[in-house]
Symmetry: C2
Subunit: 507 residues, 2 copies
């Protein structure tokens, strides 16, 4: 038996399993159960499948590639299109200019504005912030697409197109859900605010700054934030993401001479910086990926029994995962070990080298200065400052052992802390109930191995719970060729986002 609060100016409560008294869109009072609301909503969603696919088709048709300055007009068009959709929902929308981007040739170009919107402004309701992004990764037929990337193509129950799952699908799903709630005259139990940016695929340029400026205005009344910009762990089971890893990125710079030298003419004269760098980089991990930097693993929070159980219960097909990435062999045969490696243990990856020869040619050069790039993913309780200190100590000790006369410098480039939320939080339980309603199963609680810095930004600025609620499948191929969202994931995703909004009445 759960109690929940009625919303609106009535400020009354009634008890009863999944029933409520709410204000509808026109302000008239209706008494109904959430379940009834949900069923009505779900039927209406199903009835509008064609319309919703068409809406996504329009979004995908705009090649809003933020990484290509020549596409900036298309990015703006996508922002304007979304603004119109939201205004049709009745939202008040503001386009917020966030300055200029400096291109590699030194010229400047306007960043696309961030779209801030408000739907509902009832002081007695709590406020949900929805984040999404309107820009996409580049895509060319030539890259190996089987269909035209900017035409939504339905085939075998899949909707192919750039942005279909990352992140136009989820953004349009939010719009569809709100559109349907409104059409069904179902009262929305919370005020809704939106933050849709259009530079996410280019490092969210300008976003953090504008959010910080809006801390005491637009963001001052946010009670919970929901981001649908990630994926299920597998292909079949919905999940809720409650954690992200952080990151420390390092450059190791070794200089041997003032310019690149001909390896024939000069080979045998100098201590070659590449040889130094390669050796240093070889001393960071072992063949099994274990980090060889003393002290790093001591920072990691121990696994609790409760956590262990969570991993055991997860629906994760190891063989499917291995085959999808085309790996010959995974680092472990244990599902728990691989998932813990990805989510709750640090990993160190060697990314590459600046200044060495990287072309497919047989260049015979002794690079004069090389910079090795590597990063460490952070988990609780690894504080970046402590990690930096251990890394510096290890690298300096290695350099001493190496005994090369070359110039050696380690540059900690940037860092972002990990993010782990409490999946037992009532906000998360609203999402879990919504999942049970739509899919009839308990969700998996998962983490993501990557970093979504805006998650932490929202959590810090709003001082409230942030939830990652994915609707797409693990094989959607975001960023890659033949990106798609399954039609069923899209349609049930619309239902999930609607059901989640309805469930928020319980908070």
């Amino acid at each position: 038996m759960r109690r929940f609060t009625l919303f609106g100016d009535l400020d009354k409560t009634i008890s009863g399993m999944e029933s409520g008294k709410m204000r509808n869109w026109t302000g008239a009072l209706v008494i109904n159960t959430i379940m009834d609301f949900y069923h009505k909503f779900a039927r209406e969603v199903d009835a509008n499948q064609k319309k919703f696919v068409e809406r996504l088709r329009k979004a995908v048709a705009i090649p809003s590639i933020s990484g290509q300055p020549e596409r900036r007009a298309d990015v703006l068009r996508m922002v304007q299109w979304t603004k119109m959709q939201m205004e049709e929902l009745g939202a008040k929308v503001e386009l917020c200019e966030i300055g200029k981007q400096t291109l590699s040739d030194g010229s400047g170009i306007n960043l696309p504005p961030v779209l801030f919107g408000t739907l509902g402004n009832d002081k007695d309701k709590k406020t949900l912030l929805i984040y999404g992004h309107l820009d996409v990764q580049p895509a060319e037929n030539l890259d190996g697409w089987n269909t035209e990337p900017f035409s939504l193509v339905e085939k075998d129950g899949k909707l192919f197109g750039r942005g279909s799952t990352d992140d136009k699908g989820p953004v349009v799903a939010w719009i569809n859900a709100l559109d349907t709630l409104r059409k069904c005259e179902i009262p929305i139990p919370v005020n809704i605010k939106f933050c849709f940016e259009a530079m996410e695929e280019s490092g969210s340029l300008g976003l953090e700054e504008i959010l910080k400026k809006k801390k005491d205005t637009f963001l001052n009344d946010i009670n919970f934030t929901c981001i649908s910009d990630s994926y299920w762990l597998g292909k079949n089971k919905p999940c809720i993401s409650y954690g992200l890893r952080g990151l420390c990125y390092y450059f190791i710079e070794i200089t041997g001479c003032k310019q690149d030298l001909h390896s024939g003419v000069f080979g045998g004269s100098i201590y070659e910086p590449m040889s130094d760098l390669i050796w240093v980089m070889s001393q960071l991990t072992d063949v099994d990926g274990n980090i060889m930097i003393a002290g790093i693993m001591d920072l990691v929070a121990p696994v609790t029994n409760e956590e262990k159980k969570l991993y055991e219960a997860l629906d994760f097909d190891m063989e499917e995962y291995r085959a999808d990435i085309g790996a010959i062999k995974l680092l472990s045969d244990s599902k728990e070990k691989i998932l813990m490696n990805r989510w709750r243990y640090p990993t160190l990856s060697l990314h590459g080298i600046i200044g060495a020869s990287s072309g497919e040619d047989a260049k015979t050069v002794i690079p004069g200065k090389v910079i090795g790039k590597f990063s460490i993913r952070l988990v609780p309780n690894m504080e970046p400052v402590k990690v930096d200190s251990l890394v510096m100590h290890h690298l300096n000790a290695l350099w001493k052992i190496r005994g090369s006369p070359n110039r050696f410098e380690v540059k900690p480039l940037h860092s972002g802390v990990h993010w782990v939320s409490d999946f037992k939080d009532p906000h998360y339980q609203c999402a879990a109930r919504a999942i049970r309603k739509v899919y009839g199963v308990e969700p998996d609680y998962i983490r993501e191995g990557g970093s979504i810095p805006v998650t932490i930004t929202f959590q810090e600025l709003t001082r409230s719970s942030v939830l990652l609620l994915p609707i797409g499948s693990s094989d959607d191929m975001a960023h890659s060729q033949n990106e798609k969202i399954n039609l069923i994931n899209y349609m049930e995703g619309i239902k999930l986002l609607g059901a989640y909004i309805l469930e928020l009445c319980n908070l």
Copy 2:
């Protein structure tokens, strides 16, 4: 006391130190000493300094950059200009088309023709082949030139301009020398053939093929070849190059998965190919550049006492060398050790990695497939096939030790044998006498650490002696910004090439 043969149809000999009876340009008989010829020639060269600098200025003014297809018309213009210069000397010249070059976009562009020329066709004379190249490296003011690269600028006794030393200076010096011999009516003791290409800075595309085709025609009567396309060991002392190192180039390919992976999402799942490759590459040399591949050093011909003495006598300023390349410390304090390292010992250089992240960004990728590039410089008696076998054995053994499940493949890319000539050969002694005449010193006999494949091609196709006779200084900065030739090197270089031709009467 040396005996030498009269040239021309007279077929007579007279004895006597540096004197000879020769046919002059007009066919009239003159009796003169080589010394007299040389003095007359040298005086005339000095008297024409202005004209010769102007001639070089015209050559430098043509931006014949072979590596830039849009400059192909300029390359052709340079070939035509040279053809005209040689026709004015009385040479018979042929432009030989050598087919097309395929550009990276798949389109085709005509290669510049190779210029073959003949000056003199006396069956009783021996024949000298002169090789040079008419194309240059790219150059832009923006790269850091202090002057306009395609305007010859004289400053502090230096002639700055792209191609001034590599290789337009030497080519124009040959023309100037022949022009002066002709003007002074000095008989040329040999038939002269020319091979001037215009794709040298782009891998001499098409040259080897056309030379092979001409083995039994144009190249069938060559008795010696001279190439002036290298540099002195230092700044003060002329030298003769009698050796080049060879090269074996290798790719180590390691594949871990079918595409690059996000290091956050997938870090901790797979055996990272970069980590494998970096470790393998770290096991090829030690900090002092010693090659750690068992058996390689056993292939190297031992140093003879005679050779040792040669190194001891060389004029080489270690501190100047170190400062010029901006190295913090050289691999050894011993001049002999450094020069032997560069010329007569193998060296292994790690050049770079294909497939890893090479940009100045902080990309967080796990490269799915990486290819490490390294090469070994070869010296006598390292046969490429034996080197390949030792390298493969070493790498395969390393891979076994590594124990990674990833896919590992070593690809021997290409190889070129070393070239070492006998500096006591009479042909070399002609050059040595010429150096004594012009500079009043004994030449240094040096090797080059790099490879000039055309050297070996000429030696093999003509089955006769090839000589490298540099005229520029070690600090001429070929390929780099502010390329120059010293005015004195240019003028005395003209004298050297003329004196060398005159000395060939002694063969």
